[in-house]
């Protein structure tokens, strides 16, 4: 079908982003909106293969230490200035200070050079397997040097009216109501984008969001913007299409932090009992409405080097009880911290509590909001806590950080909060990141997965799927592994 040009899309954005300057703030909603305004050097297919965006082509040296990117010519910023290698160098400098994930990713980089206006060369300290996976717009957005250089970034006026190279330009933002983007007429890919406008509607209440879709006020509900309970009903509406695609890069994985340091959960058998006690199929079918997949271990199945050749933990309360008895658990109080991200998570917390109580664990739910929960987790002041984290396509980027002992640090809320410390695992992840070739990495990561699943440092729950719901007339909305966050440049309306 031939794409048609024109028309406006109304999408929901939840919660309201705190800003749109992607290099400065990197929340989910910020990425979702500014993924249209800013661009990265690469984007990734649903299989997570790199694809050109601002970089036309790239090559890797023999020793896997030098990466050379050729930039696309004729790209201009929304204000008409040309985009060049100088912008790339500036962006990397800025991101190192404002973008925590970019800084970590770039830690392996020894130096970056621009031999000419359209070439950028990265030299690594040592080979780094996942290096080609860090150039997506959310991980490394390009910033206009001419607008930001030698200004106070924090108060730069362009934070409120961001200027990028992307297919859409910022137009207006009625706080609490909507954000409006309009087509970039000078976009370098001829004919794109097809849409004239995008309205991001801000509707704080989940029920109100689904009503807004139902009554035709919005056309797109990006993943996670309505409660799961509503998905089946909305999917059945006329002219409605649902897709689970677009989460391959992030591959969100939900698990329970188990505090390995103290209390009953310091005992591996109790942790295993938790795995056996929780009915994860029920959670998937009832709470997540059949969306997603029961997790088998620390890696989501969409991530490189995933293996399901690991110990299995089916729902088996009897076994859980036996393990608890064996471990000598005597009904000590165990504090459960649900995730304050809406009704689905709350229901899940209640179901897990019930599961654990059924096998004789004495669970007390601690209610907090997101901030309070973070504080408790950061202070290691919990026994069991819900979380879900992105995996970013490669175990070296999104998996290892949760299990290596070097990532233990009080005060932060991700990265090995459980306090798991195993020298072998530390070694495996250290080797895996720099090992070549691929087969070697595969071997290392499979071994790590087996050890981890046996030890149960955390209780893996589900590979989450956040379905995107939209009117069927919206075509080509999701074309990459980054999904809605990658901009609507291919999307068009079949009127």
């Amino acid at each position: 079908q031939e794409p048609k040009a024109g028309g406006a899309i109304n999408a929901v954005i939840q919660p309201e982003p705190p800003g749109l300057m992607l290099a400065m703030v990197q929340n989910g909603p910020v990425q979702m909106v500014s993924g249209n305004i800013f661009e990265g050097l690469l984007r990734y297919s649903p299989k997570l293969e790199p694809q050109p965006e601002l970089a036309e082509s790239w090559s890797v040296s023999e020793d896997a230490k030098t990466y050379t990117f050729k930039l696309r010519k004729g790209v201009t910023w929304h204000d008409g200035k040309p985009f060049t290698a100088a912008d790339v160098l500036f962006s990397l400098e800025m991101l190192k200070q404002t973008h925590a994930r970019a800084r970590n990713n770039l830690a392996q980089v020894d130096k970056v050079e621009a031999p000419d206006d359209y070439t950028v060369v990265f030299t690594l300290k040592q080979p780094f397997g996942p290096f080609l996976g860090i150039f997506e717009v959310g991980s490394m957005p390009m910033v206009p040097k001419h607008l930001y250089e030698s200004t106070d970034w924090k108060t730069n006026p362009y934070n409120n009216a961001p200027v990028g190279t992307g297919p859409f330009m910022f137009k207006e933002w009625q706080k609490g109501s909507f954000i409006r983007l309009v087509k970039n007429p000078n976009y370098y890919e001829k004919g794109k984008p097809y849409l004239d406008e995008i309205y991001w509607q801000i509707i704080p209440d989940a029920a109100a969001r689904s009503v807004a879709y139902e009554t035709g006020k919005v056309d797109v509900l990006p993943g996670g913007s309505v409660e799961n309970f509503d998905v089946p009903r909305l999917s059945k509406l006329k002219d409605t299409c649902v897709t689970g695609a677009g989460w391959e890069f992030f591959s969100p994985l939900a698990w329970l932090w188990l505090n390995n340091r103290q209390g009953p959960l310091a005992d591996k058998r109790v942790r295993q009992a938790v795995m056996f006690a929780i009915d994860r199929e029920f959670a998937k079918d009832v709470i997540w409405n059949g969306l997603g997949k029961v997790a088998t271990g620390p890696s989501a199945s969409t991530i490189k080097y995933y293996t399901d050749d690991v110990p299995k933990y089916p729902y088996d309360p009897a076994k859980a009880k036996a393990l608890l008895k064996e471990a000598g658990y005597k009904g000590e109080k165990i504090r459960l911290l649900p995730l304050a991200y809406g009704e689905t998570w709350q229901r899940w917390g209640e179901a897990v509590k019930q599961n654990l109580q059924d096998v004789g664990m004495n669970i007390e739910t601690i209610a907090t909001d997101v901030a309070g929960g973070n504080q408790k987790i950061g202070d290691w002041d919990y026994d069991i806590a819900f979380t879900y984290l992105y995996q970013y396509g490669d175990p070296a980027l999104g998996v290892g950080r949760n299990y290596v002992s070097s990532a233990i640090a009080k005060g932060q809320v991700f990265n090995n909060v459980e306090g798991y410390s195993n020298a072998e695992i530390d070694k495996l992840f250290a080797e895996g990141a720099v090992a070549t070739p691929d087969s070697k990495r595969k071997e290392i990561y499979e071994k790590a997965q087996k050890i981890l699943v046996e030890d149960v440092p955390v209780a893996w729950m589900l590979e989450l799927q956040f379905p995107t719901i939209m009117r069927c007339k919206v075509k080509n909305l999701i074309t990459t592994g980054i999904g809605v966050n990658d901009g609507f440049k291919d999307a068009w309306l079949d009127k």
Binding site: A206, A207, E227, K353, T368
Partner: protein, 279 residues
């Protein structure tokens, strides 16, 4: 006392209110005995419509939990929160109002500024912040509701005391040499009782609404089921399962209504003018 019950029972609203309240209280007290199962337990398939199975007469919620059991256990929490927080508010508000009204002058000024201060902050907003700060639990909820609801008590009591203080029988107590404490406790406070009781009955109603609003925003005690929690939890699925929100909503409505009717009845029974005319 007999007089009081007689006039109370003469007002139809008072009678209806009393019946409703008694019903709610007995449900709260005895319901859980008849329903030993935890209301959190998943007993049936999710979203079972009401009136289909005798074991779960009001259907099940999103996790397959019994809505009827939730209603019964919820009565306990809602009524408890309503009554305890009202009591606490009275315990704070009555002495402050009494002291302000009785001693007047600077004491009055200081106490009333203090009260005003609490009244100036929008009460629901303050309650939200307090619960968030103290972390949601039945204690913090009761404390927050009490903290935002005592100022009207203090003001009412102060006003009453202010007018009672100049009554001749209070002066009589002064000239017969009784102490301030005694005068406040024996001569003044008993005579502020009627309006305070009327106000208290309305405060219980308001507190139930407040608790439900907090629970609706996700600031309820996660270990206790309440009507407000049920409405809040059911609101996202209101389209496919109306019963999860409607039944507890109606329960809130009816108990608040009952308390209001009692307030009305009390007003009739305790209003000196009305009861004097009856005499």
């Amino acid at each position: 006392m007999k007089q009081f019950w007689k006039s109370m029972l003469r007002s139809p609203s008072g009678v209806i209110g009393l019946i409703i309240l008694l019903l709610a209280i007995s449900v709260a007290l005895f319901g859980p005995m008849l329903f030993p199962n935890s209301p959190w337990r998943m007993v049936q398939r999710p979203f079972l419509p009401p009136f289909t199975l005798a074991t779960v007469p009001l259907g099940t919620d999103a996790l397959g939990r019994d809505v009827f059991a939730g209603m019964i256990f919820g009565a306990r929490v809602s009524l408890l929160v309503g009554m305890v927080s009202t009591l606490v508010a009275l315990v704070v508000g009555v002495p402050i109002g009494a002291m302000a009204g009785y001693f007047g002058g600077r004491v009055d000024d200081a106490l009333m500024r203090f009260t005003e201060f609490f009244q100036t902050i929008p009460s629901f907003a303050l309650a939200i912040v307090l619960v968030a700060i103290l972390q949601p639990s039945i204690y913090s909820i009761v404390a927050s509701i009490a903290l935002v609801s005592w100022p009207p008590v203090a003001r009412l009591v102060r006003g009453e005391v202010l007018s009672l203080r100049t009554r001749e029988y209070v002066q009589a107590a002064v000239v017969t040499g009784q102490s301030n404490t005694w005068i406040i406790l024996r001569e003044i406070l008993p005579n502020t009782l009627s309006p305070v009781i009327v106000l208290a009955s309305l405060m219980v109603a308001t507190a139930i609404l407040l608790e439900s609003s907090l629970a609706f925003l996700g600031l309820g005690d996660p270990n206790l089921i309440s009507w407000g929690y049920m409405v809040g939890a059911g609101r996202t699925v209101i389209r496919q399962a109306w019963w999860i929100t409607v039944f507890p909503g109606v329960a809130i409505l009816i108990s608040v209504l009952g308390l209001n009717l009692i307030g009305e009845g009390l007003n009739d029974a305790l209003n000196p003018r009305l009861s004097r005319e009856g005499r």
